[in-house]
Symmetry: C2
């Protein structure tokens, strides 16, 4: 059997495509999706995509750029007989597809503008499933006997449903280091012992999950939400598909999410809540399937209609609860086919609400759409501590350029969502509900190095989780509900001391200002849990205006000295940004500096000191990091969430708790 020698892929300069890849997950010239080592819950729907590549130039140039169109594909289970894919799945062979794409082999090639062109022959098989647990060997044969094999595994189903409901909280970007810092700000310690701690600290099960992508070790939120909801690693920007090389973002091979499976198999209700624009990756990944997370119009449509592209897929007639920002994608000109989705949701029986009061008053027996702003919703710190920053933003959900002064917070949205989902599920056979609630702006504020706002969002999440348990108890759902809190990735953030902000502001050189940072014993105690100007060693607990679990003051003289490992040029003064979210860097015009990329925003922390960035100068913000992230779970099935595992493990544990595995096709009527 002829195989392409891998050694031949390495050239003297080692243009070995680590970071500039021909196609992630396809190390050979023949590509199989789902790729090697994919694991399924039995009955989980998926597409197959096969590609044969013929690079016309570059270190992998092959076959004069003519891809083999006669490739074959077989499947065998547990060492049994090899069957052709059409025989195995009893489907017809689809039409051959052809396209080409280009890529750069490395930075030198990119800067010289010498791309590689790849011609492709491909096929796709749509909406299949494997029902029998076991190991499957999928084999693509091409170029006269070259083989790409993929081992697929189908797990045993759990057989028993442990939880009626699942609530999955995602703290977007919430690294464990940020949980630690949030505890320091929100809770008081006396002689080294915390008087109170986070709700996250009190959960029944603790785990850590690895967040890397299928083809890179740093993930984005689309990619990682895909892993959490489907058990499949994918690529940056991809929502519930494997990234193929075709130009169409909607033809990439799909796989089902736990929300789709729960709806299809258990007939339960699905809710989505986020403080981001609701078409953003983490909420979108509950129902959307696209290579391109920025397909916002189609994503909004998927919340109401499921997948409606030209391929058969799991029927999904809409979420029961949808709340967040992103009004612009609900109406022309930025909506799907310029339709008015407020009207379309209302036509399908949804209450449509636009502010906190309307939300509170909404009928809990009806489906609910709550869109409260254009773009992302305001941050907790602005909503609660600096409300003047919520004025003048022209972010009304009516898309009329007025303000959105009366937004709910994450807790209000989440508790209402639970109320609606519980009531509607009970009224429809008590088949349970799943809810994803996202503290989206932990990530968004960490990107702009606004540590205070990020930690405010994290404390809001913690407060919301605490209130959720009470709500579940009130509704009689506590014993039946698995609550899981996790993150999709982290940022390389930590606290390394405290900064005497008064000294820092008064010192007159950048190097003198750095003296304001106290490390080790001079970090002292948290200044956030005492009234301003009082002694942090006072043993008495003080509760601030935002209630227990939040800082008493956000403006202590001795503030946390915190930072990230990945940053654009930035200036730090460790002082809360009272005027609104931070903008650390920007492309500066009219300065002496050349305008090649981002420099310190001259208006940010003007009395601070500068560190030149660690990131490429085209980055104006921080980026995601490698860190494992925490998993905190309570309720039936929570014991499964202990230990260290992959992000995909979240899906498999939820699927087991809800008993989503099926050894035959199950689709309930809606």
């Amino acid at each position: 059997m002829l195989r392409i020698s891998l050694a031949a892929l390495a050239v003297a300069s080692c243009a070995c495509a680590q970071t500039f890849q021909r196609l992630g997950t396809c190390p050979k010239l023949g590509c199989v999706f789902p790729p090697d080592r994919t694991t399924f819950v039995p009955g989980q729907a998926f597409d197959i995509r096969l590609e044969v590549h013929a690079p016309t130039n570059g270190s992998e140039a092959y076959a004069n750029g003519v891809p083999d169109e006669t490739f074959t594909f077989t499947i065998c289970k547990d060492g049994g007989a090899e069957k052709s894919v059409t025989e195995f799945f009893k489907v017809d062979d689809p039409k051959l597809e052809k396209w080409n794409f280009t890529y750069f082999e490395d930075l030198f090639a990119q800067q010289a503008d010498t791309p590689v062109t790849v011609n492709v022959a491909a096929k796709a098989y749509r909406h299949l499933a494997l029902y029998e647990p076991g190991n499957y060997t999928a084999k693509l044969t091409y170029y006269d006997g070259t083989v790409t094999e993929a081992l697929w595994k189908v797990r045993e189903p759990s057989y028993k449903r442990k939880a009626k409901n699942v609530i999955l909280f995602i703290g977007d970007g919430m690294a464990p280091t940020m949980v630690t810092a949030a505890r320091l700000l929100g809770h008081k310690s006396v002689n080294g012992e915390y008087l109170t701690t986070l709700q996250l600290d009190e959960m029944e099960a603790l785990g850590l999950q690895r967040t890397h992508s299928i083809d890179s070790f740093i993930t984005d939120s689309a990619n990682s939400a895909t892993a959490l909801y489907t058990g499949k690693k994918s690529s940056v920007n991809a929502l519930n598909v494997y990234a193929d090389s075709s130009p169409d973002p909607f033809d990439d091979p799909k796989f089902e999410t736990f929300a789709e499976m729960f709806y299809r198999i258990q007939g339960g209700k699905v809710g989505i809540v986020s403080k981001a624009y609701i078409a953003d990756a983490t909420p979108a990944a509950m129902t959307a399937h696209t290579r391109r997370r920025a397909d916002y119009p189609e994503i909004i449509d998927s919340f109401l209609n499921g997948v409606t592209a030209n391929y058969s897929w799991t029927e999904f007639k809409g979420v029961d609860v949808l709340m967040g920002g992103g009004a612009e994608n609900f109406q022309a000109p930025e909506s799907f086919k310029n339709q008015d989705y407020y009207e379309l949701f209302a036509d399908r029986g949804y209450s449509v609400v636009y502010d906190k009061d309307e939300l509170e008053g909404a009928d809990s027996s009806k489906k609910l759409l709550g869109i409260f702003t254009t773009g992302n919703m305001d941050k907790w710190l602005d909503q609660k501590v600096y409300p003047q920053n919520t004025v003048g933003n022209e972010n009304s959900p009516k898309n009329d350029g007025t303000d959105a002064p009366n937004q709910p917070d994450l807790k209000q949205m989440t508790l209402k969502a639970i109320e609606v989902l519980s009531k509607r599920a009970k009224a429809d056979g008590d088949k349970g509900f799943v809810l994803m609630s996202e503290a989206a702006s932990i990530d968004k504020m960490m990107h702009v190095l606004d540590y205070d706002r990020a930690l405010g969002e994290l404390l809001e999440l913690d407060d919301t989780v605490r209130a959720t348990f009470q709500k579940l108890k009130d509704l009689g759902e506590l014993e039946d509900t698995l609550v899981v809190v996790t993150a999709d990735h982290g940022h390389g953030f930590d606290v390394f001391g405290s900064a005497d902000t008064m000294y820092l502001a008064s010192a007159d050189t950048p190097r003198a200002k750095r003296t304001a940072v106290g490390v080790y014993e001079q970090s002292g105690l948290s200044g956030y849990q005492v009234r301003q100007g009082t002694n942090p060693k006072n043993n008495t607990r003080v509760i601030g205006p935002q209630g227990p679990g939040f800082p008493v003051t956000w403006e202590p003289r001795y503030a946390i000295a915190a930072g990230t490992v990945a940053f654009p040029d930035k200036r730090e003064n460790y002082t809360v940004h009272t005027q609104g979210p931070r903008v650390p860097a920007d492309e500066i015009e009219g300065l002496d500096a050349p305008t090649d990329g981002n420099y310190v925003n001259p208006e940010d922390a003007p009395n601070g000191y500068i560190s030149n960035g660690t990131l490429p100068v085209d980055q104006s913000q921080g980026v995601h990091s490698l860190t494992d992230v925490g998993v905190y779970a309570s309720g039936p099935g929570s014991e499964m969430f202990r230990g260290v595992y992959d992000s995909t493990g979240i899906f498999f544990r939820i699927a087991d708790a809800l008993n989503l595995g099926r050894t035959e096709n199950v689709t309930v009527k809606h």
Copy 2:
């Protein structure tokens, strides 16, 4: 009753002593040690120290600087009768002590050199214990009725011994982010799934512990080792004492370690292994009691003789195994009373060994002292990958200025220690053993921003833990041994992408060099798990020269782009330091730059790009951070280590596993 108004402590400028403290753990002018909220295992020995402060000047000036010498101290249990301390413990009242000390209220005061002087009246009660579980209220009354109360809690004993042996591994400075990064370097993933993982990933129980100090939220290794070994939070630089204000570092109030209690109560064997100089904080804290971790001569003596200061304390006739570096403190002129500790240990029946071969040949039935270098032992990366760096260091354990070319590694030391401890324990009534084994240079290399060396040490630790389970199995000790791996604190470290080191070196401006960093999808796959110049997407596992669980190459073209949040001025090129450990910053003489503090070391990463530091310019290294650290446990009692808790919780769980709580005085004969 007159109390000092806390409000009076706050002045307009808020010199409220957060980071510049009169005395940590003493918010009032009357100080009680053990302080409020101390928890004991029943029978755990401790000292009491009482102080009354009279600041002569500053914002707390009181009583014209004359401390109340007539203070009284009472104790009552569970709301019972108040008894004087002498009656309660049936001890005589000690002599009153007097001294003074000075401190600065803040940075402004420090720079103006305007200290506060505090006069002190004090007493100490030595070597006490509380045997009855319950809550005790200790009350210091001074200044005509002012009161400082301390609530002490004595836990229930565990009653049942779960583990015969405990092995505690400490990865010094090992933040969870570093565990993630070490996995990336040491293990290969294919399509997002690791083919192998860390031993730490496979442990039965996962926990997170909070690392803060009693009086600051950032800890050092002395302070945190104290918490881990005794269940008592203390202060930076303190080993198993509460920091009082007296000038003598040996008169501070002590409390027992689990090693001392295990020796006293169970009669078991104690072993200590570290890659640091063996008087360093983490090994020292097993047996030493001092306010000043730098008391190396006395610390070495404590390994052999226990505490020999002028106060009665738990008898400790020496560890059974002691291995590490730090030869200079074993002989004059840097040894305790200029004694030759090699001779003293030998006189007490120890095998004394100085290199790997002697270690291997040592009689496992004898006590064992192995000192292999002056200072810290060489790093794993230098020992195994760049052995030329172990030459010319003039670090012979014989203190003769020759080299130490034949050092054992952490695994060799640990496995030998287990063999000796197991054999000797079995020969002496099978009362079990405790071993602390420290991967010390994870921390030391992270301090100098040498990420590669730090991760090498971490992988060495992981490999050692894996080998430990096999060794325990071979010795028939596996079922009886609790193995706990944790850290004492972290560093704010993370990986944020990969760097094309070839591009970085070739680019000609600092800003252009930053383009070499690939983030998100351009982070790509780990280049450390393939042979140099081959495709990282090759699915085949390759095992490198250092064996499984280590990188195949340390010099991939695409290296991890990593950093810390706290750094001196530094320059990064993301390339392994082949010439030995990194020196990122230094006080530069003879340059145009002023010599006020540290600047980038001109010889470090000369082809890299600079970021100005985030730390005070007197810091030449990185510092510890706030992050919670991981706890990984297997074996009998390991289930107790799940969840989120304080660093002190490690002690209480070990004490419960070994059943160290006693409701009456137990001291076995040795």
